[in-house]
Structure formats: structure tokens, C-alpha cells
Symmetry: C2
């Protein structure tokens, strides 16, 4: 398998964690989002993934974008270890937590959006950072409520095995810290993030440990 | 089942189509996003769904938000008729198309985001509409490329049965038309949208046919 990835992309980071948790070997194909006016915008990359976003997974004849679609594909084709619970309500809970990040936080704070705010809307650096933090705090506050004190929550977001929710949460928390968001009201998230940080699958997927890290 | 819905919410619209395609009866619980300062922001609704977004599905003991998590739950608990193909690459393709809408278009053009642009960033009506159209056109252009001339594309996005990609596409196309986005370069999307419009499951899920329609 080949994963088109950028070390700092949190969507690629999710997929890297999943590949590692499942013990799948893959080749990293770096796509530098800032260099050469953005390599993801090149004709060559758009031919592979017309959204011009990372990640893209290539597995044999299949070329697929969208991190959440890739995660489901990996779960279906390499079911062990499972990254979703076995029961339908549990799977719904985990997917809902994952998608608060994938749908409600990350798309708003993505590089292309921050660029649009800056270049097309002439938004100040301060207003752009306030925007970034606003959506992180909105989304993580909701996740904290879904996690804290709930019987399904264990060492990780759902029970004592890491899964989709955790591998979305960790990259988002890393970004939140980079942008100095206040996580003081989110003790459950901070605790789960720390538990994940002990696992080699998460460590090896971290931006600093990628071949294209700077 | 109860679906907390707003007639114009395209995320709720997706779920309504899925429920109809699967022949599942449900009770609509209207959440008016504009009235009373936004009923989704009330303590009562937040207790149900801490993201303060629609839709929320209640099925017995399960309460779950996030339209894509709800769709997967319905597919798992009521597998017939299937809204995902049987093969993993096909499922990945359908989920990726659905998620271009669910992750790359809709979250950026959601009511709460347009409100933030207007009230927190003092963006003009014109700039706000340009923003709206920009993300619609970016996303739908990518989807058109994934659909046009591809052997997997049939009467619908994937073969000749409607599924996740179609039920995400139709609400997004409806919104695109409401905001006068130019769909001239997207003949495959326009054709598939028209094919879906012939199906009662799609017709009955349309905003105008909801109990809370205005």
C-alpha cells in the first residue's frame, strides 16, 4: 500500500495510526502542502485525487481519498485488530465521536480554509486564530461531554482498546496544542490522549516521526 | 425511531432519504434552527446531542448524532436494501464521494459557520455567498471527476441502485441551487440528481415535504 501523506496533515495522521495499529506496512508518498505552491494542487496529484487533499491510499487497483473512507476500508479488509466495537450502538458512538472531529472541527481549520480566510477575505492573523480555536473548542467540548463519566468510556474513548475515535482525537489534540487552545475543561480528552501517546502505533504515526518531517 | 430534524438541514435530509429507502418508519422531532435563537442551542437539545447540531437519531436506548454515523448504523441494523455496495473497493468509492460532501463541502457552508462569518468576522453578504459557492464548486467539481466516464458510475453514483453517495449528493445539489451555484460543468451530477428525484424515497425526504416545512 502507498499512502500519500503530509507529515502535519491530521487527516493523514489518522490513517497512519490505523495502519500502524493494524500492523500494515505501507510506503509514504510525501505531498508537501506548502512547497511549490502546494504539491497537492499539481495536475499529477489531482489526477490521483481530484479533491487535491491528502491523504490518498493506493491499494492495488484501488485509489481512494477521504480519511474516514480509508479507515472504513482498512477495517473491512483487515478486520484484526478491530478499530470499531462489535456492537452496532458502540460502532455508532465511536463513529459519531470520530466524525465530530472529521466533519465539525477539522474541515473548518484545514490549511485551504485558513488560506481562503487570509487571502480571499483579508482576515487578520488574530481573527484567523480565533476562528481556529473557536471550532476546536466547540467540537472538543461536545466530545468531552460524550466521554466524561460515560460507562462506555474506558482507557480509550470506547473501552480499553484504541479505535477510530482515538485515532481522530490524537491528531486533533496535537493541532489544538499547536494553536494554543485551552484544554483545561477537557480532562477526559487529555487523559485519553496521554494513554494513546504510550502506544508505539501512535508514536510512530506522529508528524515528527514521518520521513517528510521538517 | 425518532429523528430530530430541521426541514432545511441537508445532514438531516440525508438521513431522511436513507430511512425512506430502507422503508423504516420514524417520527420527526422538529428542531427549528432559527426560531427562539436556535432551538438546537437549547439546554434540552444539547443534553440529547452536545454538538447542538441536527440530526440526532434515537433508536431505543441509542441516541446518536452525526449523519454519517447514523447512516452506517442504519446500514448495519437494517441491511436491506443495501445503501453501500457489497465489495470493499466499491464501498470505499461510495464513502469517499459521500464524505467529500459531508467533510469538505457541508461543514463549511453550515448555518453556524455562515453566522460566524457574518457576526464574528463582519464579512459582507457578498463575500459570504462567494465563500459558500467556492466550497460547493470545489467539492462538486471533484465529485464530477470521480463520476464522469467511470465504469462504476451507473444510473446513480455507483451502479443502478441509490446509496450513500446519492443521498448525500441530492441535498447538496439542492443547496447549491438555492445559492445559485453554477452546475454547468457538472453534467453527471445533474443527471444523477434528476434520476434520484424520480424516486419516492427522495421526494418524501425533500425539505418541502417535511412536517416542519415553512
Amino acid at each position: 500500500m502507498k499512502l500519500y501523506s503530509y507529515f502535519r496533515s491530521s487527516a493523514a495522521y489518522r490513517v497512519r495510526i490505523a495502519l500502524n495499529l493494524k500492523g500494515l506496512r505501507y510506503e509514504t508518498m510525501p505531498v508537501h502542502l506548502l512547497r511549490h505552491g502546494g504539491e497537492q494542487l499539481s495536475d499529477a496529484y489531482r489526477a490521483l485525487n481530484p479533491t487535491a487533499l491528502v491523504p490518498t491510499l493506493v491499494d492495488g487497483d484501488l485509489t481512494v481519498g477521504q480519511s474516514m473512507a480509508i479507515l472504513e476500508y482498512l477495517e473491512e479488509t483487515h478486520p484484526e485488530p478491530a478499530l470499531l466495537p462489535a456492537d452496532a450502538p458502540g460502532r455508532a458512538r465511536v463513529r459519531a465521536i470520530a466524525q465530530i472531529i472529521a466533519c465539525d472541527i477539522h474541515p473548518l481549520d484545514n490549511l485551504r480554509v485558513l488560506r481562503y480566510l487570509k487571502h480571499e477575505m483579508n482576515v487578520s492573523e488574530e481573527a484567523k486564530n480565533a476562528w481556529y480555536r473557536h471550532w476546536v473548542v466547540e467540537g472538543l467540548t461536545a466530545i468531552e461531554k460524550l466521554l466524561a463519566g460515560k460507562p462506555q468510556t474506558g482507557r480509550y474513548c470506547h473501552g480499553d482498546r484504541p479505535g477510530f475515535a482515538d485515532l481522530c482525537l490524537v491528531p486533533q489534540v496535537a493541532n489544538a496544542r499547536r494553536f494554543e487552545c485551552d484544554l483545561g475543561a477537557m480532562p477526559t480528552i487529555v487523559r485519553i490522549d496521554a494513554a494513546c501517546a504510550e502506544l508505539p502505533a501512535f508514536q510512530q504515526a506522529a508528524p515528527a516521526n514521518q520521513p517528510d518531517a521538517e
